[in-house]
Symmetry: C2
Subunit: 215 residues, 2 copies
DNA sequence: GTCTATAACAAGATAGAC
DNA sequence: GTCTATCTTGTTATAGAC
């Protein structure tokens, strides 16, 4: 049942990637089927053989890429270490296209009856859950400011998203990965300004050449 | 030169409000002139007498409401106390419509050549500036985690925006004002869990009946 | 599986009457 | 200042040939 790959879906994958690009450039409503089709060397009607409606294509885009993947981690019942999330933000800074597509879609999704609304509602719920688990594992039940891991997780998700918007609009002015590590520094037990330092500069170790955290 | 009010603009103001509503509901591209016109009892062409193009109307919407107004505060060279910002977030939780309109527009604006792009780029720059001033005034040059006020301000803006998205999608699950105060707690010198407390619950004093921080 | 043709609208914009 | 009429273009979707 669960496919997306290994089927006859070579073409489908191509189309979904193209659709993601076009959405990034022009938003969901601005992304026309013709523009997507052209990018893969098809006519609009040729494309519609693979995706019968525009909304079907959107759903495929949403399913294909799970942004930071904290969500899927949470789904699997395992929380990611915060360091991995930081690396993920770093990796995202390398792929403006995908970040842009999901920023646009997330913004659009708050709109009345938007087809991606349920997706993003669920996604954030999962991210908050997964983030809370990660924070609890790392710092225990009591964080700086007296926050619970749950409440801190809400902030964590907000920071990741909010930084993306600022970074996309002005990459020169906003160092997204550094800013995210700043937030992590806020969450780390503050007493030792020198000591444990687990979230300082230069935390890019996982090779940036990997297939990618997205999938 | 600078008008927007006091002119013959009674009708213009009506139209701009209607446009904000429609944008909130359907996004910028989805907001048709006809829909806006209908809301104020005009035909599409009647509306275009006041705003010759759709983009002109968008500009008016952008100018009219300066979201949290931290931006305009920064423009005037005065930083707002953080407590006022917290009240602003609280007030925003009361006006989902405007928050939604600006969330949609901000998301849209990262799109290629979007007419609101310059607006939001400038807005965030001002917000970061104003936020940094406010943070410096409140906490000095060195914040928890070793952050500078400038870097903390970037996070502050990200938190406000990111929380809005989560809150709009799921108001039951996310208490936006409380979450924002959580973030402020992270920034407040943590040593005293009881002492100075300037950002604790129940900080809603400016009468909620005021004309509103927006304008 | 991909194409051509085309239906069926919807949108922003212009011209000009009242 | 607001309306009717209309142009033009763009967009999703269907039908059916190859």
């Amino acid at each position: 049942m669960a496919r997306t790959r290994g089927e006859r879906g070579a073409r489908r994958v191509e189309i979904v990637q193209a659709a993601t690009e076009v959405i990034a450039e022009r938003g969901y409503r601005g992304a026309t089927l013709a523009a997507v089709a052209e990018r893969v060397g098809l006519t609009q009607q040729g494309l519609m053989h693979h995706f019968p409606t525009k909304e079907a294509l959107l759903v495929a885009v949403l399913e294909a890429r799970d942004q930071w993947d904290m969500a899927s981690a949470a789904l699997h019942g395992r929380a990611w270490p915060l360091e991995v999330v930081a690396d993920l933000v770093e990796y995202n800074a390398t792929r403006p296209g995908i970040v842009q597509a999901f920023t646009v879609l997330a913004g659009d999704s708050v709109t009345e009856g938007h087809p991606a609304q349920e997706f993003f509602r669920g996604r954030y719920a999962h991210v908050r859950e997964g983030g809370a688990q990660a924070l609890r594992a790392e710092y225990g039940d009591r964080l700086p400011g007296g926050l619970s891991p749950e409440r801190a997780a809400t902030l964590l998700a907000a920071v990741v998203d909010g930084l993306q918007v600022q970074w996309l609009l002005d990459p020169e002015a906003v160092d997204m990965p550094a800013a995210f590590r700043d937030f992590l520094a806020l969450l780390a037990p503050p007493p030792r300004p020198q000591g444990t330092d687990s979230a300082q500069p230069g935390s890019a170790r996982t090779e940036p050449e990997r297939a990618g955290p997205h999938v």
